[in-house]
Symmetry: C2
Subunit: 190 residues, 2 copies
Amino acid sequence: MSTQTRRERERAERERAIIAAARDLALAEGWDAVTTRRLAAEIEYSQPVLYSHFRGKDAIMAAVAVEGFAELATALAAARASAADPRQAVADVAAAYTTFAEQRPALYDAMFTLAVDLPFASQDVPTDLARGFAELAEAVRPAAGDDDLEAVTETFWSGLHGLVTLMRGGRLRRADHDRRLAVLVDRFSR
Amino acid sequence: MSTQTRRERERAERERAIIAAARDLALAEGWDAVTTRRLAAEIEYSQPVLYSHFRGKDAIMAAVAVEGFAELATALAAARASAADPRQAVADVAAAYTTFAEQRPALYDAMFTLAVDLPFASQDVPTDLARGFAELAEAVRPAAGDDDLEAVTETFWSGLHGLVTLMRGGRLRRADHDRRLAVLVDRFSR
DNA sequence: CAGTATTCCTAGCGGTGCTAGAGTTCTGGC
DNA sequence: GCCAGAACTCTAGCACCGCTAGGAATACTG
């Protein structure tokens, strides 16, 4: 029994090491730099070991994304909790969202633009993802009016996502970001 | 002189053939299926010929994207021109935008999510891109209020872009698209 | 027709994600 | 304590990718 548990523990640790290595490498050099060979070298095992933990590279990226959902949800919750009034809550949550995306671009990509593989059908992802979504929903609730809250939240979210992705793709000038964010916040807080 | 011009003409035709092949292949099977080997086979030349026309695969994708900008601008202009009133113009332009993205996903990706290579620094792209952007701007102008028109337009655009990309990434249910679009249009037309 | 310039292709480089099969280590019953 | 069998990990390789050097074939010029 004891050796059995030890092996399982070591296996779990190695799995976390893979995810951590993938995450660090992606954050430092982007997802293009994350190859199965480099990952294997990083954890000091051979390539095939990766495939005994994950179905493939996409699944590894999905695992990294899962961590991101938890972080984002926490950041949004903190932003909303510290806001003085409802209008400010929308502004703070929006700022927290774009800041998160800007500071962890690789993580954000894994969460929302790449890796359609598993995360949205898995079990623990919806939990953290739903937490983040709920923060957005509570922020915009006062300004939803007669509209369906879910639709308003999803649309607000789309606005944030669009701002972030277009800016990082070089389609929007970074200098005007605050002005655009103010417009979006204004449209969803009155 | 005549042989010279004939050669130049043939070269230009071959270049268009490359772009057309890339476009067709991307629309039919996605950009992952567009490899330099398949492109070469399609135009019935060897691989290196591609590199005498374009710097690399990214440049080919950029050329495809350029065509897309012109099409999108035309679609938006038509939508705005046929709208009965200003409020309807926003709705129609928004619908035209998302329809374009939905019907030509590969083209849309080349334009707005991939290929940061040349298009935004080139010459003819800004023309067609600016045309499309101007259509959006004119549509939302009546509802801009005191806000800077450019900022409002960019934010509206971001909203559309976010809706499109999140939906295609499987993050938003396709069934609720119209409802979300209505929310966005409402927020940018009053 | 000979020599030159241009065009184009063959072959190959270093890289990718992924996998079959061999080899090694560990486990548990005698 | 030994040894068959199970569990594990590695080496080597597949088919593919974008891209390029260098030579063969073609077309043009005098």
